[in-house]
Amino acid sequence: EAAVTQSPRNKVAVTGGKVTLSCNQTNNHNNMYWYRQDTGHGLRLIHYSYGAGSTEKGDIPDGYKASRPSQENFSLILELATPSQTSVYFCASGENWAYEQYFGPGTRLTVL
């Protein structure tokens, strides 16, 4: 029944490896967002999307790519993972005419 789901929930990756984090929403929202959460920083926006085929850079896009193949799905891709990308990643969705966002449960990524 959860409207925004993320997979995997936990991931351990090696430095230099490729990581893909997936997000699915059933809210039928146009906008989707990827954030990372680190202690003392709140949430910081990595990439966002206005709809299928659209990806935009957020505040900290370096080292990340995004893909929005459909209204429901939004992926975050780390082509060459680094230990500095160890964090908790959250996906969210929202209407394109409103500010409130609805979040997934998060993915805890550890890069060794």
């Binding site: 925004v4 906008n31 967002y33 954030y35 003392g40 920083h41 709140g42 949430l43 910081r44 926006l45 966002y48 959250f90 969210a92 929202g94 209407e95 394109n96 005419w97 409103a98 500010y99 409130e100 966002q101 609805y102 979040f103 997934g104 449960p105 998060g106």
Partner: protein, 113 residues
């Protein structure tokens, strides 16, 4: 200058006590304001929102917040806290880009019996 400030990283109160969590925002963000709550190992949940109108807005679980344009603030309040309110609370104003939020660093609330 930071666009949103939550000056208290950690607040500890006893169960049944009143609560105020502070949030100040800058002129670089919109006066569309939100509070989110994050329970351990979970995502963020919308607690309440302000777009316009009555400056005191009600949220879930007895929370309310008051918008003050003159003070550039949107403080969160609760009359009587419960141990289950222990969580991290984020203040998030809208940015100049419609649909985007900017998040404060959060206030960790610990309620003890």
């Amino acid at each position: 200058a930071q666009s949103v400030t939550q000056p208290d990283a950690r607040v500890t109160v006893s169960e049944g006590a009143s609560l105020q969590l502070r949030c100040k925002y800058s002129s670089s963000v919109t006066p569309y304001l939100f509070w989110y709550v994050q329970y351990p190992r979970q995502g963020l949940q919308l607690l309440l929102k302000y777009y316009s109108g009555d400056p005191v807005v009600q949220g879930v679980n007895g929370f309310e917040a008051e918008f003050s344009k003159s003070n550039s603030s949107f403080h969160l309040r609760k009359a009587s806290v419960h141990w289950s309110d222990s969580a991290v609370y984020f203040c998030a104003p809208g940015t100049q880009v419609v649909g985007q939020l900017t998040f404060g660093s959060g206030t960790r609330l610990q309620v003890y019996a």
